[in-house]
Symmetry: C2
Subunit: 424 residues, 2 copies
């Protein structure tokens, strides 16, 4: 059992797909190298809580090294992949090193996309990483500070006007939580403004919010959002975004805080593979998740474009990424054994989305819930899946505290001097 | 009781001195404006725990607005003071506004100083704010990552060589905790390096560490540090620091991580007052803490240079800042009433310093403790004084967890792409 003879599996990305692939190979006679440009696995489904100051960044992240410390056939490499040479079977890293592989798993996920409007990016930040979340937190908290300090009523109103673009789960979570912050969390704290008078608008180009849910749940989600104080605008796309606001339906709205939850594009690493890609840049993989023409290279998670049996795409959710990760491990095992690789089959675990305090929608195997019961269901599922016992406990305490006090403990502005001169 | 007629007290700085002054004025017929360039009060004594990944930033900070929300005679203004006009009784803020005052309290604290070697600053970051702490955390965690990825043995050794300059309480805390991280926390996580082989050196120019303690406790602190794995070098000052390391006693040491805990300089706002200052830039105030020749302007906290009755300076510790803050409130009350202002008297509450896991020194009214008992004493005092019930609970849970598991939950690298190309 010489270590040298073991095939080398390189996994790029420590998200759900990459981490689950790595863990599934724990008992195989392979060497695994997990490459990520960040040192932590991130529990993406709770990222909006960091952005809205309900949780601290370390509450929803764990160092990849720590998670994998006891899996002796794995090494973790902090590094950014800049090139993939599938002929030579090597990855190039930004620090100049390169890494040879026998089997490659590319699971570098997705980023946000502005549909060709990259100039909107600085004015409407998206939410994919912890740094994104802290930047959004800073922007939201500063908006109330600027409103308090403003002397011009129009300027004050613009600082109290919030828009979230995109009515999917992330947009709904952000809008619902922003409304709670304005109406409850900041109560009594300001002397010149009433934060409860802030406008929070959720803008969805399609006909309804949470389009991946049944229509009846979309309607209920919209009613719950409105009850929380969110103005929901559907059926119209934003036409422009700049530092001063946005244009919707030809009308210009002066809003200093616009958040982007509308578009998802695959990680640019997909373009380094010689493979067909869909419009969002996802790699169109074979049924076993390998790259067409290169059976030793696999793509898993949000970067993979996979169809279900009924022709609908496998959704970009955490359970799908975990299933793909585990599947890739099985496929590699089959390749090493010289047997045929199995086809990936997605098991739909249902669909959950939270909206705000005691409001959520759940669609699990025909069971449709909304409101308080759905919220409890959502809470249990998310805490259960959080990695690491400590994180679960801390998150539960934070939530219990937030629930009773309406408080959000992480309302700390980090980065730069918050009170510095620029009024951006 | 017209609000307009009430004197306006402006407090600059929401640290211990400024916040305690503000709170002490809660029942007075004054209007108070608290100006800070950050939105939070920071529990400075635990800042090293954020730098060493034991606590999250929000665990030791609370929004000033939230702390003061029920004190109706206060408004909080996020802003950076750029000018003080004591003739016109106005402050200028960086955002262009100005604020008129009847009484002014300047409590903007201290920053770190490099004794004329400002070129050392980028290579040896200091620890004063949460952003500093996150930058140090990032640097320390990345050093182990770079060592793991290094192929050249000399480069690897340089990444595993840590120096802390300054043997006061902050330097001792940082060095002790770094040694614990290297020896215990990172155990089993790396494949190419042994983190326990890292060198952690504490460099103090004076003859002993913790010079503000009795000699016997300094000696015990040094023994405890050495037991934790810290190499203590006293009696020599660092002669140079650059990106590759430092020079001590003419010998060049290749160390990629140097932390600065040596020098303190008063906040630059002191220079905006027309008042005598000591060598560290602290304002030499009258016995009632007012500025000589301007009885309506007070200085409190680390920015004030005050002598005790025996001629020794009041130390720059949290209890002294709180006492000064409360005193300034009394002095303003006396000025408004037209009576004589009292002289400030410092009450020495004793001296505590933590060293690491189960190691601390305590010197309280002749009671001298070291080791485990001192550590428990330190822990109770610090948790007790943490602002806000939630923070205390969370900090206790984090510590209990860290104690049993040797883990540090906040080992998350934030800011930039950790794996990007530069090997700085």
């Amino acid at each position: 059992m010489s270590a040298v003879a073991r095939p080398h599996v390189v996994v790029v990305g420590g998200g759900f797909a990459g981490l689950w692939a790595t863990r599934a190979l724990a008992r195989d006679k392979v060497r695994v190298t997990l490459v990520d440009r960040r040192n932590h696995h991130l529990f993406q489904p709770l990222l909006y809580q960091v952005a809205t100051a309900g949780l601290s960044a370390p509450d929803i992240a764990a160092p990849l090294r720590h998670i994998l410390r006891r899996q002796r056939n794995v090494e973790v490499r902090l590094g950014e992949v800049t090139g993939i040479d599938t002929d030579a079977r090597r990855l190039a890293l930004a620090d100049g090193d390169d890494v040879a592989y026998d089997y490659l798993v590319v699971a570098s996920g997705a980023t946000h996309a502005y549909f060709g409007h990259d100039d909107w990016a600085p004015h409407a930040p998206g939410l994919k990483s912890l740094d994104d979340a802290l930047a959004i937190r800073r922007r939201v908290l500063l908006a109330f500070e600027r409103a308090e300090a403003a002397t011009d009523p129009a300027e004050r109103a613009a600082w109290l006007d919030f828009a979230v673009v995109g009515g999917g789960p992330t947009g709904v979570e952000l809008a619902g939580t922003l409304a709670e912050i304005a109406r409850h969390t900041l109560k009594d704290e300001f002397r010149h403004i009433d934060p409860a008078g802030a406008r929070v608008r959720l803008i969805e180009a399609g006909p309804r919010v949470l389009a991946s849910f049944p229509e009846s749940l979309s309607a209920r989600a919209q009613r719950q959002l409105e009850k929380l104080g969110v103005e929901v605008a559907t059926g119209r796309a934003v036409e422009a975004i700049d530092a001063g606001g946005y244009v919707l339906g030809g009308e210009r709205v002066a809003a200093r805080t616009v958040l982007w939850a509308a578009g998802v594009a695959a990680s640019p690493l997909g373009a380094l593979l010689d493979a067909p890609r869909d419009r969002a840049g996802r790699v169109q993989v074979e049924s076993d998740l390998s790259v067409p023409g290169d059976p030793d290279v696999f793509v898993a998670g949000d970067l993979a474009s996979v169809q279900q049996d009924d022709g609908t795409p496998v959704p970009g959710v955490a359970p799908a990424a975990k299933q793909m990760g585990a599947h890739v491990a099985r496929a590699i095992r089959a390749r090493i054994a010289g047997s045929a690789t199995p086809a990936f089959r997605y098991t739909d675990m249902g669909n959950l989305a939270t909206i705000g305090r005691m409001a959520a929608v759940v669609d699990v195997h025909g069971l449709r819930l909304s409101g308080l019961l759905a919220w409890w269901f959502w809470l249990c599922v998310h805490v259960m899946f959080l990695i690491g016992f400590r994180n679960r406990l801390i998150v539960l305490i934070n939530w219990a505290w937030a629930y009773w006090s309406y408080q959000r403990h992480a309302r700390i502005i980090l980065g730069g001097k918050a009170g510095a001169g620029n009024r951006e």
